[in-house]
Structure formats: structure tokens, C-alpha cells
């Protein structure tokens, strides 16, 4: 169970990183205006990007962060890669530039050293630009609760001061880098002062670099946010798990009730068909259920909505078309409230569970048939047991074991139908949350609700496994 959940988290993380390419395109659009690029505009683009995507850890490398181990030579090479030249391809240069600017705080130290180095005079401009962006600390709404007001103020002042540290430079195809700033010397001194003032924030001794190697990665970041519950949805300006906490119980009860109903209906159906093997009734049940299985649930839900939930010229609708309770239902007495809930939940429940009748009752039928052919049933019949007692007392108990085993497998297959049902009947549950998030590309919210729904499913499977032990005396005796 736990390894499976971890595996699912890893897959989720992989899916999350898939948005990398689309994001960089988006960033290209936001920070580039061809030809004459305004340094402030570019910087604002990068700052926005950092602020938006730091909440999913996309500014960090996926698994291994080697940024703490880049020395000055490496950084010089990175800076050189952003230089325009006669043979340099523009899109490669753009990518190098973007990569450099998103490197984060671990690159501040070598960049400051480059700016301080007189021998690398032509790199002072780009290095100062990269430094001002790497040292930038986006103050996200989720940080505001975590940092003290003192720290917030300090970060804000520092971010503001960074804008004044950029040494203007030209980057042309003919000449490459050239410093154009009249006040280059003054800004160099300012950078040196900035580095001295914020030394402890950006310093990277051995321990910092090694910790960053594993801890400051996209994977660790994602997992930490998931497990500490600090996943933050930028689009909704809310914590993901507080959004989910309002809604998960709706989905949980809907699914739970639909599974219970499916079992309560399909087991008698299966037994009935098995006992009337070969009759018209058996064939009719099997065929009708098989046809029912092929009807897509979204079609059934929409049909219900069309025929039963829509007011027509001739009369009022039979069932409500949205939500789980009427307006003002909170003020109803408890029995009336429950009736109201049932009235709202009836069609969603039918839509959720009709598809599982087929497979469950089929397995039930096959299994009861197999049990009825076995020796112990013959013995029971020979003993003179009534037929009902043979079926319900002897055969059914044994086939429950198979049913429960199948139940946990079926759960995963049927799970996911709630997205349709919640969408069709406008139920404020996890499914509609997931759908809204997916439509608006809200990555943290998608991840959070996916993980929670998979968690619910795994809990269901766990319950089925426990029931399995309850139903099967062999397993019960082995574990206690």
C-alpha cells in the first residue's frame, strides 16, 4: 500500500514536470520583445515567472541540484553561452540566458566574484544582470505567513535594491558583450557592498552545497509541500489542502454509498440469475446488464438531467439539477434535511453505480455456480438442508471471499466516474475541483486533488483487504 502510494506520487511528480516546455514558451512570450530588449521588462518577466512557478518547484532541477558546485570557471562558461556572436544560434542563446537567470541563490557567490574580478571586465554587465535575478527572492502569498514581518521587509528592500545593481551592457552580434553603463564603477562597488551585506544569505560552504544537492530539488520540494500541506494555488490565492478539506467528504460519501448500493443490488441479482440458470430470466438479466454496462455514464447523467431535472412547459422537474442540498436546507429539521440530501443524491448515485452492476453480478453468478457444483454443497444437500440454506449459508459465504477480492480490483476501475457525475450535477466535490483546476492549468491544485483522490481510493482498497481477512477464516487464523 505505502510503496504503491509512493509510486503514484513519483508518477504525479513526473506528470508535473511535463509542463516544463509549455512554461518556458510562456515565459518566452512574456519576457521577450524582439530586438531592443528593455532590461527592466525582462527582469519583471523572470520575477513573475519565479513567483508563479516556485510554488510547484519548477524553478529547481528535477532530481539532482548541482548548482552549489559551480565554480567561477563554470559560471564564466555559462555567461559566455549567452553572448551573441557571428555563429551563435539565437534560440540556443536564449535558452542559455533563461537557464542562467533561473539558477537561484546558489549562483550569487560566483557571480559576485566575477563582478569583483578586474580581468573579466567585459562580463561585468551580464554577470550583474544574472546576479540581480538570481538573488531575487519572490515574495509569494504563501511566504507571508511563514516569514516574520522583519524578514519580509528585509527581503522586499533587498529585491528593490537589486534593480539598481544592473550594469547596462550591449550584446551585439559583431562585438559581443560591451559595458555601456557610465556608472559601471559605482555599481560594481554597490554589488560588492551588497554581497558583503547579504553574505550569510547567499554563502555556500560545503554543507549548503551538499544539502542543496538533494534537498533543493523539484522532487523534494514537491514532496515537502505535499506532506507538510503547504501546496499553494496561485490562481485561487488559497492553500490547496484547505480547498480540498471543504470538498473531499462529498466525494467520499458519494463513492462509498454508490459502492454499497452496487453491492447490495448486484449480489442478489447474481444469486438470482445463478439459481435460475438457463432460464429466460437469467439470459435477459445478463443481456440487459451487459447493454447497461456499455452506456457511457456521462450520457446517462445528461439524460437524467434532460428528462428529470429540467423544468418544462408542462410541469416542474422531478429532481434538482445542481448541488447536494436545497437553499436553506441548513434550517430544516434533521429528518427533512436527510430527505433533502437523498433527493439530491439519488440521481448522482444511480449514475455512479449502474455501471458496476454488470461485472459484480456476473462474477457473483459465476462464483455461486462454481460453489453449487462443489462437493460440500452436495454434502449439505445430502444432509437434507433446505435449498435456501444451502445457497445463503453455505455457498454465499464462500463466494463472498472471491467477491471481496474482486471488489478491490473493481474499485480502481470504477473510480474516476465521480468526475463526470460531479460535473453533470454541479456537485461541489473533489471531482469538480480537479476539473476546474485542470481547465485553468492550476498545477498545484491538480496535483493536490489527484493525490487526495488516489489516497481515498487506496483507503477503499485497504478496507476491502481488511474485509477480505474478515470474510476468510484462513487469513483470520493466520493473523490472530
Amino acid at each position: 500500500m505505502v510503496p504503491t502510494f509512493l509510486g503514484i506520487l513519483v508518477i504525479n511528480f513526473g506528470v508535473l514536470r511535463l509542463q516544463g516546455p509549455t512554461l518556458s514558451e510562456e515565459m518566452d512570450k512574456s519576457i521577450r520583445n524582439d530586438g531592443a530588449r528593455n532590461a527592466d521588462l525582462v527582469a519583471t518577466g523572470v520575477e513573475n515567472y519565479l513567483g508563479r512557478f516556485r510554488s510547484t518547484g519548477l524553478d529547481l532541477p528535477a532530481l539532482v541540484n548541482l548548482r552549489g558546485f559551480t565554480d567561477i570557471d563554470d559560471v564564466v562558461a555559462l555567461l559566455r553561452a549567452t553572448e551573441r556572436g557571428p555563429a551563435v544560434l539565437e534560440h540556443e542563446r536564449n535558452r542559455a540566458e533563461k537557464d542562467l537567470w533561473l539558477m537561484g541563490r546558489l549562483l550569487v557567490e560566483p557571480l559576485a566574484a566575477i563582478v569583483a574580478d578586474d580581468a573579466l571586465a567585459e562580463l561585468h554587465g551580464p554577470a550583474s544582470m544574472a546576479l540581480s535575478l538570481c538573488a531575487y527572492y519572490p515574495l509569494n502569498p504563501e511566504d507571508l505567513g511563514r516569514l516574520t514581518p522583519e524578514q519580509q521587509r528585509q527581503r522586499q528592500t533587498r529585491n528593490h535594491a537589486l534593480k539598481g545593481l544592473r550594469i547596462e551592457y550591449a550584446n551585439t552580434r559583431e562585438a559581443g558583450f560591451a559595458t555601456t553603463d557610465p556608472d559601471a564603477a559605482g555599481k560594481r562597488a554597490a554589488i560588492a557592498a551588497f554581497w558583503q551585506a547579504n553574505r550569510e544569505d547567499f554563502a555556500r560552504d560545503g554543507a549548503t552545497a551538499w544539502r542543496a544537492l538533494v534537498v533543493e530539488t523539484g522532487f523534494c520540494d514537491f514532496m515537502r509541500k505535499l506532506f507538510t500541506g503547504t501546496l499553494y494555488s496561485h490562481q485561487r490565492k488559497q492553500w490547496v489542502f484547505s480547498l480540498i478539506a471543504d470538498r473531499w467528504h462529498v466525494t467520499f460519501w458519494l463513492n462509498f454509498a454508490s459502492i454499497a448500493i452496487a453491492w447490495c443490488i448486484s449480489i442478489p441479482l447474481g444469486i438470482r440469475s445463478a439459481r435460475r440458470l438457463g432460464t429466460f430470466e437469467d439470459a435477459a438479466t445478463t443481456n440487459v446488464l451487459f447493454l447497461l454496462w456499455s452506456v457511457p455514464s456521462f450520457f446517462v447523467g445528461t439524460l437524467f438531467l434532460h428528462h428529470l431535472c429540467t423544468d418544462t412547459s408542462t410541469g416542474k422537474a422531478w429532481f434538482p439539477n445542481r448541488g447536494m442540498s436545497s437553499e436553506g436546507a441548513l434550517w430544516l429539521s434533521t429528518p427533512r434535511y436527510l430527505l433533502d440530501l437523498l433527493w439530491h443524491a439519488f440521481l448522482p448515485l444511480v449514475t455512479l453505480c449502474y455501471a458496476s452492476f454488470t461485472s459484480l453480478s456476473r462474477y457473483m453468478r459465476a462464483d455461486i455456480l462454481e460453489q453449487l457444483r462443489s462437493d460440500y454443497v452436495r454434502t449439505a444437500r445430502a444432509k437434507g438442508c433446505a435449498e435456501d440454506r444451502v445457497v445463503y449459508h453455505h455457498a454465499l459465504r464462500n463466494s463472498m471471499v472471491t467477491m471481496i477480492t474482486l471488489g478491490s480490483g473493481l474499485l480502481a476501475e470504477l473510480f474516476g466516474g465521480f468526475v463526470f457525475v460531479e460535473y453533470i450535477f454541479s456537485i461541489p466535490g473533489l471531482g469538480s475541483l480537479l476539473l476546474d483546476a485542470a481547465r485553468s492549468n492550476d498545477a498545484p491544485l491538480v496535483m493536490g486533488s489527484t493525490v487526495v483522490s488516489v489516497g481515498l481510493l487506496l483507503i477503499g482498497i485497504l478496507i476491502a483487504d481488511v474485509l477480505y481477512a474478515v470474510a476468510d477464516p484462513r487469513i483470520r487464523s493466520r493473523y490472530g
Binding site: I11, T22, F299, T302
Partner: protein, 409 residues
């Protein structure tokens, strides 16, 4: 059938084809395939035959390979099949005694693939009148003028498609018309009404069949490929390979496929191509498990030991000796897989996460949900999905009964 009846496969095939449900299923499926292939002849604004003062021309046949009229790649494939399908059918019939069915399948696939790739290469020289045929789409005004001329005046003779409406551009102002209402732009009726944007429902449905079938086949093919390779390695090699791969399969089985697909679509782009790939990459777990079981039971048979003793390489034993003997569960899971992919694709489109440019059935049904009083927007796409899924499920069920040695006949 004389020689086929003796083999177990022939017996199974005979049993399979005698089932009523399978016959109906195959018939419905064939109908959908024919509709998908000949979609341009059912719904297209271009005339099939056009005769005026300049002489007789066949605009639709030229239009079939026009990139602007049919920009999607799967459309090109189906348009090729307009010509290739009858030719291949004749070849199949002619070669029925000379070539084994397997060989005929492979050759047909090869011919279709080669033709499809060849059509991607622009062959005709630019300039001149050919260019117009290949690249320019007749303007809507021109088409309207022609339709009007045809309706008003008996001078030009023309044969039009069943419904002379486009599927990829809405008709201005013709919103939510009842089935049978006349479209002012063309002078002909909306056979199945129009939707909330002004598209002709019939044209959308007909071209939607192409999307559903393509998705079903490509996604299932991909998941079968992955599932077979993983299952084969896992079942045949055993040991730690088996342990690792089974863990992976378990994770994929536990992960609700629909939610995974939804998540991936949310993180990437919403194109038909991506949806196909994602469906293929997520749906292989069941196949892998089936193939593994089959490989486990086959790999202890004598013929495998014999192949070992002959010194054949392992991949050859796996894919040339064991795999052909374990095809029947694969075939069954493929049929249900096609149904599953079609369901998932139309479900995604229904939820508004499909390709917005593709005329999917689910998109139409979603319009029905948004305009809940308009029953034709609900029943037509819903029944189409239902019919196709039922046909595929019946075929799969028939296959399972026919190929399962335990089932009583």
C-alpha cells in the same frame, strides 16, 4: 472452411461468427467504419460531380487531399482509405486461397502506411492550376454561390454529398436549429439540427466517427505494444526484472486511469495526438498482467525448451514462439481497450478537456449538457457512443467466449 474447421482456431472462429450478438456488433462496427471512411461523401460542402460550361469535373476527389480542407493527419489517412479500402477488399478476396490471412493483414497495413507517408510529401509542383486544387480551399462565398445557382437554376448539373455542409466552420446565425430546418446558406436542411455554435450536427457526427476510431485504434495499439513488451519481459525473464515490473504494473493498476489522463492533459496541451499518446501510455497495465500470466504458463512448455536447446536468442523465443501462442487474451483485451479509449476520449471532450478543434462526439454532448433543453444534442452523440461501445463490447465478449477453452459451447 474445410481445412480451417479442423484447427482449434478455426473452430473458435466458426463459433464466434455464429453468435447473434457478435454478428450485430460486427455489422454496427462495419457501419461506423464505412461512415468514417466515406465521411466526405456524406457531409461536405464541395460537389462530388460538377458539370457546367467548362465540362464535367469532380471537385470532391481533388479536395480529399487538400491540406486546407482536411488539415488533420488522421483525416488524410481516412481519405486515402476512400480509395484503398475497396482496392484492398478486392485484393483480399482475390488472394483468399493463395495467401494466409496473417500475410494479407501485414501487407494491407504496409500498403496503407506507405501510402499515408507518401501523401505527407508534397509531390505536385507549385504553380499552375494543380496548385489551386491542392492548396486553395474554395471560399465559403463561392460555395454558397454555387449552391444557390444549383438550387435556382437548372443549367449546371451537380451531385452533392448527402448533407452539403462543412464540419469545421460554423454557419453564422444558424444556432440550435431543430433537425430538418433549412439552412439559408446552402438551401438544404440540417439533417440532425445544428449546435450552439452553428455547426451542422450531422457533419460533426460523421467526422467525429473518424476521431473516435482513430483514438481507439492508435491508443490501444500503443498500450498493447507497451503492455506486451513489459508483460513478456516480466513473465519470461522472471527474477528481479519481474519484481520491479510487477510493482510498476501494480502502481498503474491502482492509479485510476481516468484521473491520470486528466492530470496529464491538464499539464500538457490538448491535442488529439497528445490524448492518443497519453491514453496509450496509461492503459497498458491490464495487458501487461495478462501477457505475463500467459508467458508464465507457456514458458515451461516443451516447445520453449526445444527452442532453447536449438540455441535461439531469447527475444526470438519470446516474440516469435511464445507470443503467437498467447495471442488470444491479447485480442480480447484489445477489443475492450478500444472501447475504453473511445469512452475516455469522448469523456474528456465532454468535460471540456478534449481537443477544441476536433469534432468529437463528447464535445457535442457537452453542448447538450450546457443547453439541456435541446434533446438532439444529447441523444445523437450519446447514442452514437453507446452503439459503438456496445458493438465493441459485444465483439470482445464473443471473442472471450469463443477463445476461452473453459467456456461451454
Amino acid at each position: 472452411m474445410a481445412e480451417a474447421a479442423t484447427s482449434p482456431l478455426g473452430l473458435a472462429l466458426g463459433y464466434f461468427l455464429r453468435m447473434h450478438s457478435v454478428r450485430i456488433g460486427l455489422g454496427v462496427l462495419a457501419l461506423f467504419v464505412l461512415v468514417a471512411i466515406y465521411a466526405p461523401f456524406l457531409a461536405s460542402e464541395t460537389a462530388i460531380v460538377w458539370r457546367d460550361a467548362d465540362g464535367v469535373s469532380f471537385p470532391l476527389f481533388a479536395e480529399l487531399f487538400n491540406r486546407r480542407s482536411y488539415p488533420q493527419r488522421h483525416d488524410l489517412l481516412f481519405n486515402l482509405l476512400v480509395f484503398l479500402a475497396p482496392a484492398l477488399a478486392i485484393a483480399w478476396w482475390a488472394l483468399r486461397r493463395r495467401w494466409r490471412p496473417w500475410r494479407r493483414v501485414l501487407w494491407s497495413l504496409a500498403i496503407v502506411t506507405v501510402a499515408w507517408i507518401a501523401c505527407q510529401v508534397p509531390m505536385l509542383p507549385s504553380g499552375g492550376s494543380w496548385q489551386a486544387v491542392w492548396n486553395d480551399r474554395p471560399s465559403p462565398e463561392e460555395t454558397v454561390r454555387r449552391h444557390r445557382a444549383f438550387a435556382a437554376d437548372d443549367a449546371p448539373g451537380a451531385v452533392f454529398a448527402l448533407v452539403p455542409h462543412r464540419y469545421d466552420a460554423p454557419y453564422q446565425g444558424a444556432i440550435l436549429r431543430r433537425p430538418g430546418t433549412v439552412n439559408e446558406s446552402s438551401g438544404r436542411a440540417f439533417l440532425l439540427g445544428s449546435d450552439a455554435v452553428g455547426f451542422d450536427v450531422f457533419a460533426r457526427m460523421v467526422f467525429g466517427a473518424r476521431i473516435s476510431l482513430t483514438i481507439g485504434l492508435v491508443a490501444t495499439g500503443l498500450s498493447l505494444l507497451i503492455g506486451t513488451i513489459i508483460g513478456a519481459l516480466s513473465g519470461y525473464l522472471g527474477g528481479w526484472v519481474d519484481i520491479v515490473l510487477q510493482r510498476l504494473v501494480e502502481i498503474m493498476m491502482c492509479f485510476p486511469t481516468f484521473i491520470l489522463v486528466l492530470t496529464v492533459i491538464a499539464m500538457t496541451s490538448r491535442s488529439i495526438f497528445i490524448i492518443m499518446i497519453v491514453l496509450g501510455l496509461t492503459g497498458w497495465a491490464g495487458t501487461a498482467r495478462l501477457v505475463r500470466g500467459e508467458f508464465l504458463s507457456q514458458s515451461v512448455r516443451e516447445y520453449v525448451t526445444a527452442a532453447h536447446a536449438l540455441g535461439l536468442p531469447q527475444w526470438r523465443i519470446m516474440f516469435r514462439h511464445i507470443l503467437p501462442n498467447s495471442l488470444s487474451p491479447l485480442l480480447i483485451s484489445a477489443t475492450f481497450g478500444v472501447a475504453g479509449s473511445i469512452f475516455t476520449e469522448s469523456g474528456l471532450a465532454f468535460l471540456g478537456l478534449g481537443d477544441p478543434n476536433a469534432p468529437s462526439w463528447g464535445l457535442l454532448l457537452n453542448q447538450g449538457r450546457e443547453n439541456i433543453a435541446y434533446s438532439w444534442l444529447i441523444y445523437i452523440p450519446g447514442l452514437a457512443v453507446f452503439a459503438l461501445l456496445t458493438a465493441l463490447n459485444q465483439i470482445g465478449n464473443g471473442l472471450r467466449e469463443a477463445l476461452d477453452p473453459k467456456s461451454q459451447r
